[in-house]
Symmetry: D2
Subunit: 151 residues, 4 copies
């Protein structure tokens, strides 16, 4: 992943209880950091994530997660988490996340997560919402690949 | 992934606090289930994982995680988690995990995790230990691909 | 707390990711163990806890938690968690939990949690449900103090 | 607890994965918030908490936790967490924590945690360190009750 492709930056500081018995941040915790950053990204773009939207007229679930761990995050370190939507397909889209230690720029981890838009009643995949498409396209510009038959 | 390739089965029951505000198991929790199963696998094969080994003469870290979420795990459901070592390279090896709901056989998630053997002092990758190689080979038999120059 | 007062036993095994950087189970995790045991207790008594009940016609929240940590739980140890309802008041009730290491009987921790019955619409405390009172009374018998004007 | 007694303020924002299936922050998570604030408190006073100190010449463990939940914390709310050392005894000391929603001042929870100083080799309680006593006394001034024979 190339840092230059990202426009959005979040920061999280490593907390003591996220450090495991090996003395490094536990491997599942990085998923939480990337998720926190994704939610800040959506919030900044005006896409409200709250209890109402979570249980409302659309439902988005995670279909795939990929993490490459490049070096270990340590207690009290501040993380830069860069976030972008890398593509939007017919019924799914993907986020990319890039995490580095803020002071040294040391690469910590990379994440790709794929999200599927579901009908909240039937549970079947449905087309990614138009409002979402528009907002992402305006924010990401040419760097987001919009795929799928209807785009 | 093919269930027939797995010899090892663990079970975990979904706990209330693992269910998120969407009413389904949070996406990071599946990594924990797969890890619990890996540790039971190693324990059953006589490969002790404890504080001493964790901070001892070898150090194994997770280099990559991949999860495909096939359907949502729900509160109180019992999960079958199948685990195997799928390959051993020179300085790394991989686990595969397959999770299904125990009663219905509903596929929940698949995981591939890559682990790297590090020198605990220098942090540099070193050859996966011989004892580990032998034990895994004896258990997995022909189904584990042993790669790397010295095997 | 006196083990003789308890009729219900649950078991949990300490998982690797529950161990913190001090090499012992993190202090917040004990709350989770006690909660898992409470839910098994309720389930065994036929009091279903599920998404429907959680978001349904009554709503029970935790008002207070007290934990005394007697000794540290360690990786892979099996815990006996004893659970009882110790009293029921007009709008609240309390659980007691006693946790010991299963093999040695080493005392690990004690918990008192107080739960309040709320009206799901107004959020105001309401009388603890009659069905709940009856079921607990039948199970706990003379050992549960039933307090409050209408009991 | 009286907000006027506190000199130290930390802030934490509620993350999505801390919200449980009831739509409110899970009861064990509040312990984590209070702990994050305690560690910031110690850090600000120059008392380093890191892997070396955690596994070093002294060892401090949590002996007791008490939480009163006053109202539910909700997703994305910003919490003010006030922290103070309320007393130091011979071998133990206590923190108090007061948490309110930052914008409205709504009281969320109160915490008292008791910490015991242990000899890292024998595990027996030892006198709370002199440096620690001095630093806390200078910071808290007359509001901290210093108890125990040698103070």
């Amino acid at each position: 992943m190339n840092k230059e492709n990202f426009k959005h930056l979040s920061q999280v500081r490593v907390r003591n209880y996220e450090v495991d018995w090996q003395g490094i941040v536990h491997n599942a915790i990085y998923l939480l950091y990337f998720e926190v950053a994704r939610i800040e990204y959506l919030k900044e773009l005006g896409l409200t994530i709250d209890m109402k939207s979570i249980q409302g007229s659309s439902r988005v679930v995670v279909a795939r997660n990929e993490v490459n761990y490049r070096s270990s995050a340590l207690f009290d370190e501040l993380m830069n988490v860069f976030t972008r939507v890398s593509y939007i397909n017919e019924t799914s889209f993907a986020f990319e996340g890039l995490m580095e230690e803020a002071l040294s720029g040391r690469l910590i981890a990379e994440n790709v997560s794929v999200h599927v838009w579901l009908d909240p009643v039937t549970g079947a995949p449905v087309r990614v919402g138009e409002e979402f498409r528009g907002i992402i396209r305006r924010y990401e510009g040419g760097t987001v690949a919009i795929r799928g038959p209807l785009t």
